[in-house]
Symmetry: C2
Amino acid sequence: MTDLLALTAELVDIASVSHHEQVLADHLESFLRPVAGLEVVRHGDNVVARTRLGRRFRLILAGHLDTVPADGNARARVVGDTVHGLGASDMKSGLAVFLELARAEAEPAVDLTYLFYAGEEVESRHNGLGHLARDHPELLVADAAILGEPTNGAIEAGCQGTLRLAVTTRGRRAHTARPWMGDNAVHRLGPLLSLVSGYVGRRPALSGCEFAEALQAVAVEGGVAANVVPDEARLTLNHRFAPDRTPEEAEGHLRHLLAPALGPHDTVEVVDVAPGAPPALDHPLLAALVEGAGLEVRAKLGWTDVARFATLGIPACNLGPGDPTLAHRADERAERALIESTFAALRRLITTEP
Amino acid sequence: MTDLLALTAELVDIASVSHHEQVLADHLESFLRPVAGLEVVRHGDNVVARTRLGRRFRLILAGHLDTVPADGNARARVVGDTVHGLGASDMKSGLAVFLELARAEAEPAVDLTYLFYAGEEVESRHNGLGHLARDHPELLVADAAILGEPTNGAIEAGCQGTLRLAVTTRGRRAHTARPWMGDNAVHRLGPLLSLVSGYVGRRPALSGCEFAEALQAVAVEGGVAANVVPDEARLTLNHRFAPDRTPEEAEGHLRHLLAPALGPHDTVEVVDVAPGAPPALDHPLLAALVEGAGLEVRAKLGWTDVARFATLGIPACNLGPGDPTLAHRADERAERALIESTFAALRRLITTEP
């Protein structure tokens, strides 16, 4: 069998920062085209490979090609059973697992659609899954989907929604030697920050998975000049909400929370929002994955393309060998044991008659 | 007598935003050179005109040429007895008073040094008074000084010091879906802002003048990315302190105030500082000004070049026809009555044997 740690290192060494996935897409395309039984379609820097075996079920195995920018970790480094480097966790170890499944299993018990796509780490409009859904919806027809996002080899079900709000406080300028002539918009952030930092998120359990809501300030800015009482300040908040709430409900909840700290001229506006997705492990394929491999099941707290599949009506979950807490960090890495156990769990799933 | 409102309008119409005072300096130089009994020295865009009458006392009348940038008010507009326009208050109405005194009083009872200087509204290193003190200290020899900064025609004694501090809070980055893995540096601004906005400044009375200390946030910034718990935030504070405190005492006071809201990795650094100056109305010339004109006397809350004269050992005060609350505003303006009464008070002073 292929050395999956070495294959991960090989993929890490092919740089693929968002918007620069072409070389990696070329590499995967030339890897997949010779594989017997796979139909390969290239669309931009997205590579789709499908079996056409006429099985009862079709399963999507999807992974994004892109990484965030390097942080001194652009080259792969293998130390013992660990591969260090940009994307090792998020999610080139997951890509390695999918590539080896595609190579090794020519006649799986379920039809497979491998989706290797670009533009996941950046604004939604660049997302390759979105481009495929728009331009080639026929390629996204499937009964279930598994995303190879880092989950430490566990199944992370559903995903939380994400809502970004910008709060603008407004006051009145004055000279700082006579501040009582004005109204300091930066001072007015104090009570807002107290509400935000004291926020206790709900932890609802859905289908046995406990989600954990959160509210964080992610940016703050304000100021006119060194001797001027500022008349405007802006606080940007990121709220992660469990999938039992719609984006509208989450927004209403936050507006209600913040209202006591807002003045009549302050405003709250939605910067962006993406719905969550409830756990969807009832489908026989995903149920078989859970039961067959005895994997831990928990809620996905971050937002992933599981939500995009949910809007397409495709039940999906996350399963990947990377460590989500190491994603986007300089010390990003992946472990051989988790890469191999994830491979084994997926191989068992696709070779067993459902 | 010259129409001082018209003269102010004429000066407003000669643009002199900081670093671009040359045309106005040329204008004043050519106005002053023909005046009998005045020795005129040009140094950069600073114009100094002196009588050499051998009087017992020498008084400096000083005013800066520069204005802040225009805000739709670059041209003068006279409506009734009001002149509107950039610098009308700060401080071309004051310059008009000094120019008319220079023209009208060829043989005053005190020797006079008129200082028209550049670069007051910008960083201290551009200040023309500083350049003169460095390059021509002999031109700054005097017994007392009056600055024509806007005071609404009252005497504003001394000035408060100003201290700018940057507070940097430091935390730990994490994904906003798992904020408990990090420490939000922006949230930590909340308690700091509570301390700052709740600050009650001292109001010490010095030589009968009540000062009013203040503490204001003037800038705030922080944030890494839309989905990242920020690990650093920066809050800039401006403290105005009464002249019974040294800059070091003011800094110590603030550090003590802020300490309860600071963590072990947070830092407080001085961005810039300028000492205040206590009221100095004991000199016979300034005492005569107060008594002769029956002017209201109060503390100057802002920082002015009175502090620069204080460090040169020259007792000084502020007296100008402008309204300090209108300085640096789009609706800046000056009133005929105050321009004329200020002129009358100064004329009485310089024509009376002290």
